[in-house]
Symmetry: C2
Subunit: 335 residues, 2 copies
């Protein structure tokens, strides 16, 4: 018998060591290990019902049917769950995003992680986070890391079974005190989407092979810094890794960048302020123009003040470390 | 007997394939071959007198004694000339820069090339451009390319004798029609000088080995494009090479950039305008925030208009291909 479905909640994450490029697009194996922080305030709630009375898989987000592209990603996750459960029933997927576009954070990570968890639960599968992360990976690379909480490492792996995410040990004070300020310059869709940008970079950037080596070295340096709670070291590694990732796109053919002039102005401003103040604040940037600043709880007010002075029109959202998958009863839709 | 000294004039150049990093700092051997265009309107005039009645080498630029650092570079060039001529006399060097700071172009290339030529002439040496370029190299890497006119290739070489510059064959129409618009955002000294920036990049950038391979490939592609007079191909290769060079600095430890937000805005604006218009205009950037736009004579007015619309506060200077070393009699100081 099928269990009563439950809502599954998964949170977005921000990568400190970036995922940029696949070594196997079919299996969704990334070129390098990556490492992220799961974020508390941005998440997706998803309910899955496997139903014999439906003609095929359906997915609504906030009550609206999704695009064909989004449905395709969801179906890949659902197919993995059905395969493991020996199910053939179509699924009705209801999803609620609590990742405002205004936060400049992609909802695909939380959305496809929540889907993996909700579908597995509805299918009666009892899976570890590690197994769920493998399923989420088939929907979206960054979703692999949104199954677990805190600092999370996605092992690139060499096949479907070995490419999964696990939490990483970090000093408790660091996990408690780390803060992320999302600084939003633009909520316009980017000119080059992540998937296309990654594919172009892997295929044409002169620096791609050197990038994967750099990312592995950065990750090896980051692990002891996390364990020791050495925030300035964590921040410097994350900032360097993000900029090295963005450097790839300048060396692509043709060259491109996700930066806006304001992105560059903020990175340079933060670097200069950090050197002069000194304040422990570091920048990281994903495939888009917005910047996420990493700092510690004691410095949030100073960073907010500096941002208000220097980037008065930017929107700023503050968050902290978030948990892994959470479940809620079907009747009690979570808020 | 020493010949009557003559003024030597050398012009600045702009690299289409960048020189960024030395494989031998002592011999001034660059990590990769580079290729430049000598520019007509920016030059240095230099007169050298070898004099027994002076206590040591002296150098004035526009009547002012230079810094110790600038004198050191000049002395390296003078020593090369004295060594070849079997001279031990000190030199009095008088130099006039016609490279306005406002043009955002370094005067070290023209200055040290003019010095090499003037010193060799004053010492009675009769040297080819190739030999003069070797001497200029000891003063400043980019000076190697300022001895010759038009498109010039600096062969990296493997020792002092094999690291020199020679003109490169180009379609006559291209050499006639190519235009360079220097777009000046800032005439402030850069925060990180070229020599320090290069050294930091070579020592710490994860992408440096890949850069030298990229530069050699770009140069191999540029040569037939120059010979064929294929300007859009020349421009695209130059722009890609410049951005790949600047990508190196984002992957250095710590990461840095010579770009200002306006630099990025102009590169992105030109890329978008070029795709939409279409107008053959391409960007290249040296170690600083200013941009040089490459286009053809027929499009200069359109590019100037576009710049006036989009970057009204930037200064713009237009120039074209310039010649190699020229000499003028001592009594008739060139204007």
């Amino acid at each position: 018998m099928m269990p009563t479905p439950q809502w599954a909640r998964a949170h977005t994450n921000i990568a400190l060591i970036k995922y940029w490029g696949k070594k196997d697009p079919k299996l969704m194996l990334p070129a390098n290990d990556s490492l992220s922080l799961t974020l508390a305030d941005f998440y997706t709630d998803t309910l899955v019902r496997f139903r014999g009375d439906c003609p095929g898989d359906s997915l609504t987000i906030d009550g609206q049917p999704v695009s064909a592209g989004a449905l395709t990603k969801a179906v890949r996750v659902l197919d993995e769950v059905r395969r493991r459960a020996g199910l053939t029933l179509p699924a009705q997927v209801i999803s609620r995003n609590h990742v405002p576009t205004a936060a400049g954070l992609a909802s695909s990570a939380s959305g496809l992680a929540a889907l993996a968890a909700a579908a597995a639960q509805a299918a009666g599968l009892h899976l570890t986070e590690q197994e769920l992360s493998r399923i989420a990976r088939h929907g979206s690379g960054s979703a692999t890391r949104s199954v677990a909480g805190g600092f999370v490492r996605w092992y690139a792996g060499t096949d479907d079974a070995s490419s999964y995410a696990l939490p990483v040990a970090a000093a408790p004070a660091l996990l408690q005190d780390i803060r992320v300020l999302a600084v939003i310059f633009s909520d316009q869709p980017k000119a080059i989407g992540s998937t296309a940008g990654m594919a172009q970079t892997v295929a044409t950037s002169s620096y791609f092979p050197a990038w994967t080596e750099r990312a592995e070295r950065d990750l090896a340096a980051l692990l002891p810094a996390l364990a020791a709670g050495d925030f300035p070291r964590v921040g410097a590694i994350a900032e360097g890794n993000a900029l090295a990732m963005h450097a790839l796109t300048w060396a692509a053919r043709p060259p491109f960048t996700y930066f806006l002039p304001a992105t560059l102005a903020l990175v340079q401003g933060i670097q200069a302020w950090r050197a002069a103040a000194p304040v422990p604040v570091y920048a990281t940037i994903d495939a888009g123009p917005n910047v996420k600043l990493l700092t510690l709880a004691d410095h949030v007010a100073a960073v907010q003040e500096w941002l208000a002075d220097h980037f008065p029109t930017a929107r700023v959202v503050v968050t902290h470390a978030g948990p892994g998958i959470q479940y809620y009863p079907e009747r009690k839709e979570p808020r």
